[in-house]
């Protein structure tokens, strides 16, 4: 461990704000990339099911 304490880890020698902001933003973009295809998949499957039902009627 490079840092002495947890608070100095958060503070990052005064650069904490920048470092954590970067990691936060990156986490958001990564999360969007993981979640959006899952949501799209649900929607696509629903659309196909609806279409199949319509055609059976």
């Amino acid at each position: 461990m490079f840092f002495d304490s947890f608070s100095s880890f958060i503070e990052m020698g005064g650069h904490g704000l920048y470092v954590w902001a970067c990691y936060g933003l990156a986490a958001i973009i990564v999360a969007v990339n993981f979640i959006s295809p899952v949501l799209t998949r649900k929607k696509v499957i629903k659309d196909i099911q609806r279409q199949n039902r319509r055609e059976q009627n």
């Binding site: 461990m1 840092f3 650069h15 973009i29 899952v38 799209t40 659309d47 099911q49």
Partner: protein, 257 residues
């Protein structure tokens, strides 16, 4: 040799095959990618020593550099997929090219944002016309062009082909753009510190970077697979295999039936 290559080509052109193989591989890419990212990020944030010049702000490197690298190679991959689609008329390839575009753009945005935030403690300002940041901005513009084509052309086949041509032309231009921006930069700002160019990097700084780079590539594969599968489901919605698959798929609306 030739026949097995040909067989592979036909397999890769088959949506069903791609769907199944990517479903099988995705968890492994996710697992390996997440493990690498976790190790790399924890190592980079907590254990790697601080940079003697930039202090702790240099820890941004572990996401900035992978995002930059990946968004550049994603553009090349997109162009290559477009080329394969145009020359060998392989529709699968167009699907992959299409799903790469938004992912690549999001990575370019990530690279720009982290670069700008990194710039604040390094240069004292949020935005500096540094060669790397400027090239990345232009790369984002190139992505915008490709995405705009997909949005503007309704006919899917036309849109795929047009975007393919644009991506190929763009990828031929990328090295020229990079070269001219670097040249321009040395002309106007000879004394700036480049953030990421280190002649030698200590191994305890470099290894975590390597881990996050590979980790990002694995995640990228997961994203591309997932989006491609969605596209395939919709394109192949009239085939038997999709219908069977969809009947068994659990969704909220399915519960009401």
């Amino acid at each position: 040799m030739w026949t097995s290559l040909k067989r592979l080509y036909h397999k890769m052109g088959s949506p069903k095959w791609f769907y199944e193989i990517s479903t099988r591989w995705s968890p492994w890419f996710l697992l390996v990618g997440s493990a690498l990212m976790l190790t790399g990020v924890v190592w980079g944030l907590a254990f790697a020593p601080a940079d003697y010049l930039q202090g702790n702000s240099f820890r941004i490197i572990y996401i900035h550099v992978p995002a930059s690298l990946l968004s550049q190679s994603a553009y090349i991959m997109m162009a290559a997929a477009g080329l394969v689609g145009l020359v060998w008329k392989m529709k699968m390839s167009f699907v992959v090219a299409k799903v790469i575009a938004p992912i690549g753009a999001s990575l370019a945005i990530m690279s720009l944002l982290t670069g700008a935030i990194w710039g604040k403690p390094t240069w004292g300002t949020w935005w500096v016309w540094d060669a790397r940041l400027t090239s990345m901005l232009i790369l984002l513009f190139l992505y915008f062009g490709v995405i705009a084509i997909y949005n503007a052309i309704e006919n899917e086949e036309m849109a795929n082909k047009a975007a393919g041509i644009l991506a190929i032309v763009g990828s031929i231009n990328i090295p020229i753009i990079k070269y001219s921006v670097e040249w321009w930069n040395t002309l106007h700002q000879p004394a700036t510190i480049t953030m990421t160019k280190k002649p030698t990097m200590a191994p305890e700084m470099f290894i975590p970077l390597l881990l996050t780079i590979i980790g990002f590539y694995c995640w990228f594969a997961v994203w591309v697979f997932a989006r491609t599968r969605n596209e395939l489901l919709w394109r192949e919605r009239r085939t038997k295999w999709v219908k069977n698959l969809v009947i068994n798929a659990p969704t909220n609306s399915g519960a009401h039936q």
